[in-house]
């Protein structure tokens, strides 16, 4: 008889709440009349993400030193719970942005169900404590995202985006899986802690395994040179999906990356810090240079997300508790800015019924002052200007890197920030400094749709972006508690 492990339902509760919301959304969309499907799905998904977030907060409060639950398959620590909070926050925001998206009503139940399931997968992924749960979580949320990207087949490029993501994402997953297999083959262990104990640094198989796992994470975090899918997928997917993906996937991938590297491969730090510093540099260079020449705002934001991955990797390279704190802090304003920026793009897209480019953003800031100022704030935040959390995030990451002796990486980061100003401020220029007349853009006609939910989402994003600057202390305290779960010597 196979021994049944003790299941700690409490620690799994955020995941279960999201799954329950997804199941209900699927079931109810069959029963409720057509006109109520959208509202039902949205309410259930919001409730799911909110409940999961609240539960994660409770577990965060009640967790102290990390413990291993459910047959040592998942960890109960604040590191994972902090990430779950972020994923749930991004989820709620994504639902707000999704609500008024023009989408055929017949798949709307599935849309919200998949969104919640993807969230559940990410929440599970960040808790992974062994190679099996790691891969399970990864595929769980990835498959949901593949479908979400292709869900709106009426958008040109949506299906293409889904397929591209599927093919390249599957390649990334396969690389991670192969790497895991090599690590397991070399150490004979699945649990991260046990791997650290049994690690053979001079074993070529083992080192190859670590390298392949890094590559796999690189795909998910869209770090260059594993970013090729990012611009196409971000551009082709429905904008709310892009918003969710850009924020939540990055949280999950980077948080897990740091955990695996620190817990399972602490002895190999001299190898993976160097490798990651190269990946970070390449991401910063490719992301920023490619973003310079983009006309489409979604593509530009996609490359900006590659460059942000580079900044966050610097925090991992620092390989210190300060670095871990910097990563966790960075993710907060980053998620808000990313979801917020895509939300504004979505609003413009619905107004124009065409993909948003830098040209057809002209004058948007004067036409819709609130969304204009919000977009302005998000761009300033991405560019690392003060009065937004984006500035402190960069400051923190640079401090961590400098503190660990990676001065050249700090200088690369500063150079990348300088280059990035051109395209971030290019958006501000388009919003305020060019007139639609001069560019001969036909007016959209009629007053733009009033979208209370989307605007609420944008307000929340602005609040987090600016609030994380002023209320840095409580956030950093949270990050400190979370980072204490990761062993640094």
């Amino acid at each position: 008889m196979i021994p049944r492990p003790d299941v700690d339902w409490y620690v799994l509760s955020p995941v279960l709440a999201l799954l329950a919301a997804a199941g209900l959304a699927l079931l109810l969309s069959v029963f409720v009349p057509r006109w109520a499907r959208r509202a039902t799905g949205a309410v259930l998904a919001t409730a799911g993400f909110a409940t999961a977030g609240v539960l994660a907060a409770f577990v965060f409060r009640d967790s102290g030193t990390p413990t291993f639950e459910v047959g040592d398959a998942v960890t109960r620590d604040r590191w994972a719970l902090y990430a779950q909070l972020l994923v749930c926050g991004a989820g709620v925001l994504a639902v707000l942005v999704s609500y008024a998206e023009r989408m055929p009503d017949d798949h709307i139940g599935e849309y919200y169900a998949l969104l919640a399931t993807a969230g559940a997968g990410m929440c599970f992924f960040v808790q992974a404590e062994n190679l099996m749960t790691l891969f399970l979580g990864l595929e769980w949320f990835s498959i949901c995202l593949y479908i979400l990207c292709a869900i709106d087949m009426q958008i040109v490029g949506s299906l293409e985006a889904g397929l591209k993501y599927l093919v390249i994402g599957a390649f990334g997953s396969a690389t991670l899986l192969f790497g895991s297999a090599l690590v397991y083959g070399s150490t004979g262990e699945l649990e991260f802690h046990a791997i650290a104990r049994e690690a053979q640094v001079d074993d070529a198989l083992f080192v190859a395994g670590v390298a392949m796992m890094l590559v796999g994470f690189g795909y998910k975090a869209s770090a260059a040179p594993f970013h090729q899918w990012t611009p196409d997928v971000y551009e082709g997917a429905p904008t709310p999906v892009t918003a969710f993906m850009s924020a939540a996937t990055k949280v999950a991938a980077l948080v897990v990356m740091l955990r695996v590297l620190r817990v399972a491969f602490p002895m190999e730090a001299h190898l993976w810090t160097v490798a990651l510093s190269v990946i970070a540099t390449v991401s910063l260079v490719i992301g920023n240079v490619a973003a310079l020449v983009q006309k489409g705002v979604k593509r530009m934001l996609a490359y900006s997300s590659v460059s942000n991955a580079g900044f966050m990797l610097i925090a991992i390279v620092a390989n210190s508790e300060l670095g871990a704190r910097a990563l966790l802090y960075y993710l907060v304003p980053y998620c808000a800015m990313s979801v917020g920026a895509f939300a504004v793009v979505a609003a413009r897209e619905r107004e124009l019924r065409a993909p948003v480019t830098l040209d057809n953003l002209a004058g948007f800031g004067w036409e819709r002052p609130f969304l204009g100022i919000a977009m302005w704030i998000f761009m300033l935040g991405f560019a690392g200007f003060p009065l937004t959390g984006g500035f402190l995030a960069k400051f923190y990451v640079f401090s961590a890197a400098y503190d660990s002796g990676w001065t050249w990486l700090v200088i690369v980061g500063a150079g990348a920030t300088l280059v990035s100003l051109y395209y971030y401020l290019g958006v501000v220029r388009a919003l305020y400094m060019r007139s639609p007349l001069e560019l001969r853009i036909a007016p959209a006609g009629g007053s733009p749709p009033r979208e209370t939910l989307l605007q609420t989402g944008v307000v929340l994003c602005v609040a987090v972006t600016v609030g994380s600057f002023f209320a840095a202390e409580p956030l950093i305290d949270l990050a400190r508690h979370a980072a204490e779960s990761i062993p640094f010597d």
């Binding site: 003060p386 700090v410 300088l418 100003l421 501000v428």
Partner: protein, 486 residues
């Protein structure tokens, strides 16, 4: 220790900005409200002058922990010289707002808030006592400036904003790296608590930011574009006040925190400053338009101020602070006058304007008075500042003083050329008889500026001898502002 006055000076304009932006008001009401806020701000500054004890160091201090992790705090307070710079800022921005109100800028609910935010950020720069806070305000100045030039500027505004951002951010990011390095080495970002450093690299990071912002030769390529394309009142703030933030940075951070590197690089910086002084003066002499003359004279004057700062003695520091205030007032007045001239002639080309003195006695008087002060005629406040600076730098090497003295002659040449090209000669083709003399409303913001200049001419010691606690500026700077700190 916990005095709200500095914080009020910083946040009153910010609050005013939000009020102007969020409450839907008529253009006229928004303008009056902004002007009122600016005048109340001047009032608070006068209150701080009255309460200021010029014998003591840092005052009106307030400190609140921002994040304890890296020992960063919201720490503000005023020294004597920062008090004068804050005063300069409030007065010049108030005049700029009055000018904007008079010309009736469109999109008022965006324009005035941005000017007020600029005011708050600049006051913040002059009063912050924490490195990171300093950087935050230093960058925060750039955001409103970018939009003010980019939206309300002239035809070449997009290129001008690009140059401003590219240059200043390149310098600023180097400063950010330097700040991180300095702060982590000392374990605190507090300016009062942190000690000195011997690292040339960190020093150069700071110098890069300040040299671009001032600007010093050869980092000035953004300056003519920015000063020409910006609206006149923004150019007034830019050259009158924002450039002083750089000089302040030299005085408050670069020189006291890095005594060793300051000595090592003194000759380089003094040489660049002297070259900038002469080169700027020559360019000003050749500039084809009113604003070009003022812009390049600003480059020259910043070189002179830097000469004073890096002379490294009492005379140099006192003279530099005095000259910062005087030049701030002079160039702000000149830019506002240039704006008035451009409104009347629709151009600032020196070949097209001319003969404006005839029938416009008030304009002639104002331009003449300001111009004569700007060329440092003996007895003027600018003369006092320049004399102190030259006397100070003479101690370093007589050659700098000789170059500086020669530059005063050049200043006379370009200012007199400007005055004669605008006021005298034959009537320019762009000047019609219908163009009016200065209106009473214009005098409303020009007379206070010129009045302050005349007052400083009578009593320059008001600034030069009340900037540093005690008598010896060099001792205060050498002690890294510490003895005076608490």
């Amino acid at each position: 220790m916990d005095d709200w006055l500095t914080s009020i000076l910083i946040f009153l304009p910010v609050a005013g900005a939000f009020l102007c932006m969020l409450v839907p008001l008529e253009r006229f009401v928004v303008g009056s409200l902004a002007l009122l806020v600016a005048l109340v701000e001047v009032g608070f500054w006068i209150e701080s002058v009255i309460r200021f004890d010029f014998g003591a160091g840092l005052q009106f201090e307030q400190q609140v922990t921002w994040f304890s992790d890296l020992n960063v705090s919201y720490h503000v307070g005023l020294f004597g010289f920062s008090l004068w710079l804050v005063g300069l800022t409030t007065v010049v921005v108030a005049a700029a707002i009055a000018y904007a109100f008079w010309t009736g800028r469109d999109r008022a609910r965006a324009y005035y808030p941005l000017l007020l935010l600029l005011l708050g950020a600049t006051v913040g720069v002059f009063s912050s006592q924490d490195l990171l806070l300093f950087y935050v305000f230093f960058e925060a100045m750039l955001i409103p400036l970018y939009v003010l030039v980019g939206v309300w500027g002239g035809a070449g505004r997009l290129r001008a904003t690009f140059l401003i951002i590219a240059y200043t951010m390149a310098g600023s990011l180097l400063m950010l790296v330097a700040i991180i390095a300095l702060g982590l080495t000392h374990g605190t970002f507090d300016l009062i608590d942190s000690g000195t450093s011997d690292s040339s690299w960190i020093f150069l990071g700071f110098v890069a930011a300040f040299a671009v912002k001032a600007p010093l030769f050869p980092f000035h390529a953004w300056l003519p574009e920015a000063y020409r394309e910006a609206p006149p009142e923004v150019a007034a703030v830019l050259s009158g006040v924002i450039s002083k933030a750089a000089a302040f940075g030299f005085l408050r951070i670069a020189i006291p925190k890095f005594p060793g590197p300051t000595d090592d690089f003194r000759i380089v910086i003094l040489t660049l400053a002297a070259v900038g002084l002469v080169y700027g003066s020559l360019l000003a002499f050749r500039a084809p338009d009113v604003r070009g003359v003022i812009a390049y004279s600003s480059l020259a004057q910043m070189g002179l101020i830097t000469l004073g700062l890096f002379a490294g003695n009492d005379l140099g520091y006192d003279g530099a602070v005095l000259q910062m205030v005087v030049h701030g007032l002079v160039s702000a007045t000149l830019f506002l006058l240039a704006g008035g001239i451009e409104r009347r002639a629709a151009t600032g080309e020196l070949l097209l304007v001319g003969g404006m003195a005839r029938g416009r006695p008030i304009l002639a008087t104002m331009l003449m008075t300001t111009g004569v002060i700007a060329l440092a005629v003996p007895g003027s406040s600018a003369f006092a500042g320049e004399f102190l600076i030259l006397a100070g730098v003479f101690d370093r090497h007589w050659l700098y003083a000789a170059i500086g003295a020669a530059a005063i002659v050049l200043a006379a040449m370009y200012m007199l050329r400007l005055i004669s090209a605008v006021l005298h000669r034959e009537r320019g083709s762009a000047v019609s008889d219908a163009a009016l003399d200065l209106r009473p409303a214009e005098l409303g913001f020009l007379v206070p500026l010129v009045g302050l200049l005349l007052a400083l001419s009578v009593w320059p010691a008001a600034v030069s001898e009340h900037s540093f606690a005690g008598d010896d500026a060099s001792v205060v700077v050498q002690q890294n502002f510490r003895a005076a700190g608490r």
